[in-house]
Symmetry: C5
Amino acid sequence: MSAANGNKRKRKSRTVPAAKIGLPPGTLVHVGEIKTEQPLISTLAFDQHGIEEQRFDSFAAVSEYWPGHQRLWLNVHGLQDPAILAAIGQRYNLHPLVLEDILNTHQRPKIDDYGDYLFFVARVFEYDPDSRILISDQISIVLGKDFVLSFQERRSGLFEPIRERLRSDHAPLRRNGVDYLVHALLDAVVDRYFVVLDQLGNTAEDLEDAAIGSPTPDLLKTINLVKHDCQLIRRAIWPLRDVLNGLIRDDSAFFTADSKLYLRDIADHTIHVIETLDTVRDLLSDLMDIYLSSVSNRLNLQVRILTVLTTIFLPATLIAGIFGMNFEHMPIIGRSGGFYLALGMMAVIALGMAVIFWRRNWLKA
Amino acid sequence: MSAANGNKRKRKSRTVPAAKIGLPPGTLVHVGEIKTEQPLISTLAFDQHGIEEQRFDSFAAVSEYWPGHQRLWLNVHGLQDPAILAAIGQRYNLHPLVLEDILNTHQRPKIDDYGDYLFFVARVFEYDPDSRILISDQISIVLGKDFVLSFQERRSGLFEPIRERLRSDHAPLRRNGVDYLVHALLDAVVDRYFVVLDQLGNTAEDLEDAAIGSPTPDLLKTINLVKHDCQLIRRAIWPLRDVLNGLIRDDSAFFTADSKLYLRDIADHTIHVIETLDTVRDLLSDLMDIYLSSVSNRLNLQVRILTVLTTIFLPATLIAGIFGMNFEHMPIIGRSGGFYLALGMMAVIALGMAVIFWRRNWLKA
Amino acid sequence: MSAANGNKRKRKSRTVPAAKIGLPPGTLVHVGEIKTEQPLISTLAFDQHGIEEQRFDSFAAVSEYWPGHQRLWLNVHGLQDPAILAAIGQRYNLHPLVLEDILNTHQRPKIDDYGDYLFFVARVFEYDPDSRILISDQISIVLGKDFVLSFQERRSGLFEPIRERLRSDHAPLRRNGVDYLVHALLDAVVDRYFVVLDQLGNTAEDLEDAAIGSPTPDLLKTINLVKHDCQLIRRAIWPLRDVLNGLIRDDSAFFTADSKLYLRDIADHTIHVIETLDTVRDLLSDLMDIYLSSVSNRLNLQVRILTVLTTIFLPATLIAGIFGMNFEHMPIIGRSGGFYLALGMMAVIALGMAVIFWRRNWLKA
Amino acid sequence: MSAANGNKRKRKSRTVPAAKIGLPPGTLVHVGEIKTEQPLISTLAFDQHGIEEQRFDSFAAVSEYWPGHQRLWLNVHGLQDPAILAAIGQRYNLHPLVLEDILNTHQRPKIDDYGDYLFFVARVFEYDPDSRILISDQISIVLGKDFVLSFQERRSGLFEPIRERLRSDHAPLRRNGVDYLVHALLDAVVDRYFVVLDQLGNTAEDLEDAAIGSPTPDLLKTINLVKHDCQLIRRAIWPLRDVLNGLIRDDSAFFTADSKLYLRDIADHTIHVIETLDTVRDLLSDLMDIYLSSVSNRLNLQVRILTVLTTIFLPATLIAGIFGMNFEHMPIIGRSGGFYLALGMMAVIALGMAVIFWRRNWLKA
Amino acid sequence: MSAANGNKRKRKSRTVPAAKIGLPPGTLVHVGEIKTEQPLISTLAFDQHGIEEQRFDSFAAVSEYWPGHQRLWLNVHGLQDPAILAAIGQRYNLHPLVLEDILNTHQRPKIDDYGDYLFFVARVFEYDPDSRILISDQISIVLGKDFVLSFQERRSGLFEPIRERLRSDHAPLRRNGVDYLVHALLDAVVDRYFVVLDQLGNTAEDLEDAAIGSPTPDLLKTINLVKHDCQLIRRAIWPLRDVLNGLIRDDSAFFTADSKLYLRDIADHTIHVIETLDTVRDLLSDLMDIYLSSVSNRLNLQVRILTVLTTIFLPATLIAGIFGMNFEHMPIIGRSGGFYLALGMMAVIALGMAVIFWRRNWLKA
């Protein structure tokens, strides 16, 4: 939803772009930034006896390919070519709304039961702590009887460990059905949140230190941006929890009782993500108050120093004024060292006051 | 609810105007501002085989007209003439409360099931970012077995793209029933929210920049006005979500299972609108704190400059005082360049201090 | 709950007065201020064929009176005489708790189903924008099979328009049953809220202007009082909504399906009242922050002016000091216009600084 | 929970004291402060025909006593002797957890259904507005088929009016069953809340006046203490509401339908208590902001006075400086009244400024 | 979750460490800090006739051991050796997810019903008030038909009192089933919360005193840390309440009706913990405001002192200026004690002002 373009970030979260307003639903137009150069279709057919991996970059090649194993996982990176989507939709008999939701990558996480298949939308994030840019990708998953289709906007390596596990002969992923594979995909998605949360948490703590220590006007915008990022993540993880709970309670035929145990585990993780997120958000909310009063405090400290300086000069100025009076009879005036005596008095008093203020820490900004 | 009159906006949201209090329910009086010059009735009869469009501006003409196609969409722009409403109500057998709700354009979005037809009220907004005026229109829709009646306060072009789609021969809108047409109307209404939200979001970001950069007292009122606008939109979209969810869960005969899939899609959009709105509202809530402390901060920065100036003058004034003392024996006093030496000392010290404060950025307001 | 006594308002909302604590429930003691001089009982018997109106001020006269028409509406203004209540209670067979609740005018709005009749308690407000006093009256209504009893603390003219409508021969009120009359009474009660809300909204906006423009310490107490008034109204309208929704969902025999349509309309209005109230409350909550920082801001603006004045005097004082030095060789000193030259220098510098500060708006409080 | 010891109050609300941790549940140890000198057991046997009152201070005497009337109310003041409890528990066949809950006087209000009897725990408060000490007592009630056991920590006179009513021959309390007596006890408990709330409300208003008028550092702690007291009361009344609602909905045999009408009345009262409490809490929450800014405001007012004084001295000092310059040709210098003319100028300017500042109210702290 | 390492605490609450991401679920890797040196397995077999205690530190010894009594409680301290866990899992037929959850000590408290056994996760805290470090341990409990397995990260003595009670011949723990033992374990866990809460409450009050009395910048971080600790505890106790309520409502065969009475008692305690926690949290939330304004207040008090000092010097400086004027005819000037008279005037005025400011308390920082 938020993406890096140059060093200016905007808090836009437009879902239906102006260009699409008025078009009939079901029109296949890719909505979102083009995030990868070339779409890549990779298939992984597997069952207990073996796996077969293929990579395609054109649509025709895929439609001719018919894998030999029982279960198929087809993954698409890059969504800018609606033709590929349309072909996949035709082959797997997907509803036009499903295809539209896959292409319009501003969906809210959800699960829709279309009878023959389940359609999931989830959202995965990547956070760059240095530039403080949060990149969001939509992950769409279709779970059929013996196939899983997954769609990603960018090549992120998110599902690489799962592929690795599938390549191992005795992996439970090979033995179990496609529902177990979907569980693994969702697990990978939720695990990714913890990484992002860790980074956001660290950023929040850095901001806290900066707000207390050296507040700058930019900090306020940064705090608001990170707060906004937390909100984005929350809006992505919150419906995911509902999706998972819906799956667990549901008596659909797509998930076995044992797979549901594992889904329950992921659901627990999402609650944990939400709780951690709320802690970060609370800290960020406090940060603004801390920043604002820290700025005001620094300024007041500086004004205090200046006022201390003024106060230190006061006695000296008074002494100069006293010896500037025009009385005919004044002490010391006639002495040869009188002038220096006066200067000495000024210096002693000023130094004495400086020491007192120094000890009281009133000279520290 | 809020409307533009001159450059003074009031936060009124009166629902039942004083003039109507005490009248029996069912009395047809148009409540609201007159927003269009001349009521316009346009009919669009359609089925798979063709469409027939007509425009009327008098009531008699409409009641005599009997279109040839299966399904009818009758749209009314401008509600200031209760007679037209009364005639439509009689012909389509509408309950007096329905007619009253259409005319009293301060309704909360809702859906009422009257058995023979469903009655929807929705609210659509237009936002002018320059004058920061939010204009709200009530959209009333009656869905019968084979007809759709829609009522708008102003000619807004909101439904024009739908008319365009109906004119196309192979459009799904032509093939499907009137429930699908209602879905298209609601979709157009919800899509309009995204446009307004985008504008409000931009306004909020502009206000943020202004609050941090150049806070002026007007800003506070503007922030409160935009906040109030968000509230108005929220109060319009929130019940719309309930309306849609009610339709989806409901087992009424008005919507087919397939149309409900599309309604679910719109319901998802309304949640998205609400979430985006909440983000804008959170930003606006923070803005007030930011503005208030920004104002206080600017003032303190200015006081700091003044205090720095005072401090810079202190040593010079002391030196003048010292050489103004009346000691008989004083150094330099007798020298010819003594006076300029003293002035030089003053200048050097003052400049030195100015440089120090400049480097510490204490002279920047 | 809150009432006007002199110009001092207290935020009391005592429900069970100390005097009543320990008494057995059902003891008939009027709890509340005596708000009218003389109780007035007015009856209005009606059916489709005609109406018959009577006014009584003594209890005996009422009990002897037997109206000729099918349906009866008996209204009581003024509750200070428990004897009247007791007599009515006996004649209409009311439960002791009902009579107690009518007399103890600190009830929460509610509906109690006693089998033979329904008992409603609602609360109606009147607001005086000048003195900012909110007066609250309890409206108790008993709905039986063919009679309606209504009890008010004061003569307010609240139900006068309904009486007027009943006097018209073809009014729906005459044709329909007593349930429709109760709907009309409740409608009048809810309509009254909009009037009060409008006044409160205007008051809140006036307070906003005052808080930004000319904050005075009294404002804080006024803000808190208006906030408190909003709370009182909210506590009265919130349960009323529940009461209405309860009636709509309920399958009691007291309301016909058609009357329920009208109740749904009133329920929509109560939601609108609550939403409008919340907007006012939000504004009031912000107002306190605005007021507090506005006060602090004004003070700081004044301190800035003073500091500017100090700064303007600094160079002049330095110049005077410089020419007060006792150097033997000083320029200008000996010239005849030297003194005025020095004064001129002072004036020019001071004026120059004043102009600079004036242009920067630093001299505006 | 909170109690008076000297003039130092602690915000402790420990439930299970360290001494009890690790003990098996059911161990009878009195947990709480000993609040009365000598336990007192009073019995009141009654039915329609008469009552019989007895007072005991030793356990043996009670167990031998067998009253002649149908229904028995046994009340215990003072819980420091577990032996009495154990004996009562044995005679009335109470579960060990009930006895433990009665003795451990830090229970949350609740109702437990033990089949043969209902066990209620409620909490009653006493507030001393002068010392601002809130004393809390646990009231435990056991309702059996024909007996009521009530347990209080202190002799408070809370139930005295009920005893008085029982002594009257025609009291409904005598005619009705023990469920009606329990209703009367609970009514007395809830009525007590209104007294405490009135006192807390007055205290909050006094604090408001103090916060606006004369803020002192102690005020902050007092505000927090009263806030904490509100919290304690809220935590006691909130579950009580649930208890009552549970009883009303429940179809247990302990309460007749008519008694439930009366319970509903008490439940309404508890909601009123909660609402009033929330109003007080809101006021207290605002108070802290008001106090904090009031303190800061006072300080700024004082700094303004000091700055005004500085400003008033500036012109006089400048005039002195001007006439202290060493020009050879200066006006007035040579005149005999010149000195006084200068002093006059100083005085006139200073007075003029003082008048200006006085009129602007800038000299008021 | 939070642990002591050196004197730097981090607010991390990572659940799934980066190292585990991508691993298949069920992989046994201990996740968490190693908190004890050497794992310790202790068994306690018991029934009404006797008990038998054993301690093991190697895995082989445990698997060979077969206790003679009916019921077994096996406790494991220290989880760094997955082999032990795997062996126990095999012997008691535990699901891989259970073993994984025991080892990954960042679980949310929960209860999972695996048919043959119940699996509980709870969390217990220890708080060091001096270093303000909150240590958290995960307690995992497996309840089978006749065995209880409990797993702790560290040797904490938490369950020692329960062991002590089991050793007593007539303890209810010996007579009752293993469900009663689990109740005792959970009771010990919840009791421990009260200890921690007491310490946190005291810490919060200390912080309150510090915030009002002597605010230092460190305080802000400490407040945030304690707030964060409260959050951690809340996140641990909140699901525990749900767990207990689930058990009470559930009709599983693991708990007898009587044991459920005792569970209800613990559930009441958890609500009490949550309420107390919320009170502490509210205090902490206020603390930040108090601290921030306290800091600003102190600074302003210091600036006031400095301004008072400046004001005291003003008249003296003016007097010196006056007598430094060069009028030819000035009073006192020629007198011998004139100089001292002027100094006296200065001293008297300065002292008088000092006394006035002293009395007004304006010299107190």
